[in-house]
């Protein structure tokens, strides 16, 4: 499998602020890769380094095996970028902007352009000055999705879209993947991430804290168990990977990771189970665990945008 984006130990400093502090990111060809992290974690900074708009302080970042700072112009023929906060030229219409931007990438697929304008329900004859945030985002998305780019860099692309358009957006991204396009999707919408992404990378304070498939992450996370027992299970804390044990009469609650789950079930059933509730980790819990930042760290990660 070819690695399209290969970032290793990337550092970016703005004055005294470390925006990126040893970030790693690998995106394979043809996948939709979720890029997650709390506000100010460095997602946009990473994407801007990948675009050659910012210069990395140290570490390596390669796109298609090439340096995005040095080969920016030729690389950009392969890339379409949708910024989180889209600003357009007020005096140009949406249609003109779509064409202009696509022409400065690898060119435009005319029939897909018409189709996307239809599906996103955009009036391309209006001046950009009169568009709402959602409509500006649509302009940027249509231009990116109808271009012939091999890689889409999407920075919170659906933040201004209504639920209907969000749905269209998901379909379009999936279709792009089916065409063989690689997508890096930075997002806060967990449902979107879950629906679209095969693999995700979670960063915090400019550093990668977790990367892999959603399945494997779930696996790493703890399942919560609540059981009403007939007898005494004994000392549960000797089971590997268990935590947060509370015993209230004959009701036992605990969190356990995948490795200790079988052992816990065996011990419980030996004691006699009247009822058992098992909850797999939700994505929210997964992310909240990674997102939770102490105040000190928050101050350190404040970056310019």
């Amino acid at each position: 499998m070819t690695v399209v984006i290969d970032v290793r130990d990337l550092h970016k400093r703005f004055g005294r602020v470390h925006a990126l502090d040893g970030l790693d990111l690998q995106v394979n060809e043809g996948e939709i890769h979720g890029f997650l992290g709390p506000n100010g974690a460095g997602k946009s900074t990473t994407i801007r380094v990948l675009l050659g708009i910012l210069r990395a302080t140290s570490g390596s970042a390669l796109l298609f095996g090439r340096d995005p700072w040095r080969d920016a112009v030729s690389l950009h023929r392969e890339i379409a970028y949708v910024p989180g906060d889209v600003t357009l030229w007020p005096s140009l219409t949406g249609g003109e902007t779509i064409d202009l931007l696509a022409r400065m990438r690898g060119g435009i697929d005319q029939s897909r352009r018409e189709e996307l304008i239809e599906r996103f329900d955009l009036d391309p004859a209006k001046k950009a000055r009169t568009y709402s945030k959602g409509n500006r985002q649509k302009v940027s998305l249509i231009s990116a999705l109808s271009s012939r780019a091999r890689l889409l860099l999407l920075d919170e692309p659906s933040s201004g879209l209504d639920p209907l358009m969000e749905n269209v957006f998901r379909q379009c991204v999936t279709e792009a993947r089916d065409r063989g396009v690689t997508v890096l999707l930075s997002s806060h919408v967990l449902a979107e991430t879950e629906a679209l992404c095969q693999r995700v990378t979670i960063i915090r304070a400019g550093r990668t804290v977790e990367s892999g498939t959603l399945e494997s992450m779930r696996h790493l996370s703890r399942t919560s168990i609540k059981a009403e027992l007939l007898g005494d299970p004994g000392d549960l804390s000797r089971i590997p990977g268990i935590g947060d044990i509370t015993v209230d009469g004959n009701v036992v609650q605990a969190e356990v990771d995948a490795a200790g789950l079988g052992e816990l079930i065996r011990v419980l059933s030996d004691a006699g189970v009247r009822s058992l509730v098992s909850q797999p980790p939700t994505l929210e819990e997964l992310f909240l665990r990674h997102y939770r930042v102490t105040d000190g760290q928050r101050a350190a990660t404040r970056v310019r945008t």
């Binding site: 030729s74 030229w89 001046k127 860099l153």
Partner: protein, 547 residues
Amino acid sequence: MTTALASRPQHRRPEPARQSSPLTGTLGLLRLYARRDRVVLPLWVLLLSVPLASVYVASVEKAYPAVAQRSAFAASVLASPAQRALYGNIYNDSLGATALWKAGAFHALIGVAVILTVIRHTRADEETGRTELLDSTAVGRYAGLTAALLLTFGASILTGVIGVGGLLTTELPRAGSLAFGAALAASGLVFAAAAAVAAQLSTGARTARGMAFAALGTAFALRAIGDAGNGVLSWFSPLGWALQVRPYAQERWWVLVLPTATAVVLVAVAYTLRSRRDIGSGLLAERPGAAAASRSLSGPFALAWRLQRGSLLAWTVGLCLYALLAGSVVHGVGDQISGSSLAREIVNRLGGTDALEAAFVAISFSLLGIGAAAQAISASLRLHSEENAARAETLLAGSVGRSRWAASHLAFAVIGTTTALLASGLIAGLAYGIAAGDVGGKLPGTLAAAAVQLPSVWLLAAITLALFGLIPRFTAVAWGVFVAFIAVYFLGTVSGVSQWVLDLTPFAHVPRVPGEAFRPTPLLWLLGIDITLVLAGLAAFRRRDLR
């Protein structure tokens, strides 16, 4: 103004104790604006008031202590249409009239200062969306405009007061000093009010600024050409009124009514316009445009053309109108001074009426060069505003090299100013030639007068680009450099400023063609500096992070 206020429905806030009006929050905003302007505003107030007594009066007192010397000086001014076009007439040979003659340029300079101040706190804030945020708080509809005008009016009046204070410490007659200060403050009021109207008319700060400066430029052109000729046109210009108050030469106090009344009318217009439009929008509704880009709209240069063509046209038309006006009065400027025998003697010494005409052409294009320099800055500053609005990022994420993108806008600063200046040279030359019945003889000299301005005009674009590449946060300082150049250029020679200070401005090195001999060396130096600055700016821009 009052009718506009009254017609506005009163919104009542839930708590009955505090009434709200369209002016609620004005004082809070005034404090905010004063805070944001705490460096620049005091600077221009002091620069436009303190030098009146300490530099102007002091230097003329020293240079021309005797009455005879001053009357010779006054006669030499009267004999030169070019000098009168630049600074206005001298009405007698008193110490006051001669000393503050050159300070006539202050009326235009305060105009520049108040226009920038008003637009900064009205349209520029609205464009960035800051106004919307403020308006969502308990702030009345007119509070922003009122606070901006109060700040600027206050600063103008303060400039006048400090100026008068300084002049009163000299031995000049009190009445004249008071008249000069009042005229200076009144000039500030007129152009602040004009800027307030411009801020309501357009949707962008750039356009608003352009419109206000166009008004100032027109006022200057009418005054310059009026004072060089028979004086009629001067009466159509606020800058003409300021000089017609004639401080130290039987002050004509009634003339002050004209700028004051104009300011009142313009303020009323601004408030009326403000009441009729929505925040963020101008008065003109948007029409739908093309649903797809034409074949030609492809690449950074096409985009730059699309973004810049409107202002390029406006600048060209503006400069050409001034050139037409100037060109049509050149022939015969020398004849206006048949009055005194002393004047005629000076004219002959200067080389006769032909030389006077040539000097007038040279000065006219020197002023056009300053206008074109502003155009050069405005066009190059597009780079800065595109980067600030993150549109540069969108574009550079496409297959566009940084140098190519920077060059796309720089081209308009260079080619645009060249087009505008050569077109105005052509028009002025034709008008002059037709009036003199000698197109073949007058056109080449006039065109040359336009062409020699170009290297110094380009210098301002080069400075802007260098700032943009090297210290992007301070790109807008280019305007400060420009204002400093004009200030030094105008405040020039009489004031006893050292030659090296004068040499700092590029305009001082432009050969006064026609009339004087053409010297290529300074132009080549300027060109060399232009190229160096552009290359340095481009190299730095390619190496730095986008903001």
